[in-house]
Symmetry: C2
Subunit: 219 residues, 2 copies
DNA sequence: ATAAAATTTTAGATTAATCTAAAAATATTA
DNA sequence: TAATATTTTTAGATTAATCTAAAATTTTAT
């Protein structure tokens, strides 16, 4: 079955939205996430339902069918594998990969993506710590917690991020807050909830906002 | 300036057609090469002329402007670099790369393509022997001749092909007639113009059709 | 429970790329 | 050079994806 560039973006958006909420996704939520209008979304939902990619009943929101879910996971797989390629092989910074991967994820070729997977030695996570589905759509969700949940004296390894904006990614890179880095909470400021961290043997303060969006795996 | 997937395919087609003929390209020729109808081509020509990518006067055929030519060369550059990547890094056969490269060539990112060029160590030719334009659109056209122009006893290195169809490519690969291979003309059959070649110390006969489409560089 | 607010869908247009059929222009040839 | 054939363009539709504005439905709040 053929899916257009646009249909694929809808499937991906629905997948991400329903993953967070774990329930039917609203028309407006899709419209917001794709920067389009609710009326356009309704039109597309009818089309996707026709193709048996989503379960859709008027006014009731949508969920992905098995077919739709596996299609969405394949697009996410492609996106994340390309991100690994860009960073590992082409020396992109982790804040430079998203837009290009948004285009590359729509290239239609199973051979290409499976060979790329092999070339990259079957990576399990992308440059932002997000898991990469295998060719059957299977992946493991690492158990991560935001820095803000740590107490004083606790340690962890930076292993993911919640906010994926390039401005946040740039900030993190400039402050050595990159994947794999060990951190320790030295103190928490009561006034504004900011965290004083020990990073690479240096004291560094991060705001509560940063602490909420930086995910760690316990040691 | 933004060019759509479709516009890019028109520019590429016009480039290839005008390169062979070295003159204005006909509406019907473009329609044939893109498997579309003359009426559709006329519509698109108006649009490309509007964008100053082609010189177009009704009924007079078209040529590329400098802008159009440099855009076409950039698409060809991308196509051929991706082909090198697919063959060199992802172990595609040379008859498997064309369709995927047709999609990859439309990814818009200068950083991507220039980094890919670097990653591949600035290749000068693609897996079929076609030259790859550099980032300024410059490339050298190798001086090649078809096998059928060789006389008995002459030698050469297989360095290019005229026909790019996957059926021809597959035939060549199966008969060790691949890029870089040395050949020597042992005999030419008067009856049907077929060639008896010495390839890798083995005698092999190829039809005149093959001899016309297989290009060699003299020793 | 009903009115007000918010969300979602429908109706009717718009744009890019395409098509068929007919008209216009150019090229061929007798 | 006039008739015929070929090529190209125009006119008018079609399809996918989008939009605005209005109508329908659901949710929230009094």
């Amino acid at each position: 079955m053929l899916t257009s560039f646009t249909e694929e973006n809808y499937l991906k958006a629905i997948y991400h939205l329903s993953k967070d909420l774990n329930m039917a996704v609203n028309t407006n939520a899709i419209a917001d996430s794709l920067n389009t209008k609710a009326a356009s979304v309704t039109d597309m939902l009818k089309k996707l339902a026709e193709k048996d990619l989503i379960n859709y009943k008027k006014y009731q929101g949508v969920t992905l069918t098995e077919k739709g879910k596996s299609s969405a996971l394949n697009i996410i797989r492609k996106h994340r594998l390309w991100e690994v390629f860009l960073v590992e092989k082409l020396k992109f910074n982790w804040d430079e990969v998203h837009d290009v991967a948004e285009e590359l994820e729509h290239i239609h070729s199973d051979l290409l993506i499976n060979r790329l997977d092999e070339f990259l030695e079957f990576p399990k996570i992308d440059p932002h710590g997000d898991p990469i589905p295998d060719k059957n759509g299977r992946f493991h969700v690492p158990d991560l917690k935001p820095v803000c949940k740590l107490g004083i004296g606790e340690k962890g390894i930076i292993s993911g991020i919640r906010d994926h904006s390039s401005i946040f990614l740039k900030y993190l890179a400039e402050h050595k807050l990159t994947l794999g880095q060990q951190i320790e909470v030295l103190n928490i400021i009561e006034f504004d909830g900011s965290f004083i961290l020990n990073i690479d043997k240096q004291k560094q303060t991060v705001s509560r906002d940063v602490a909420k969006n930086l995910l760690i795996a316990y040691e």
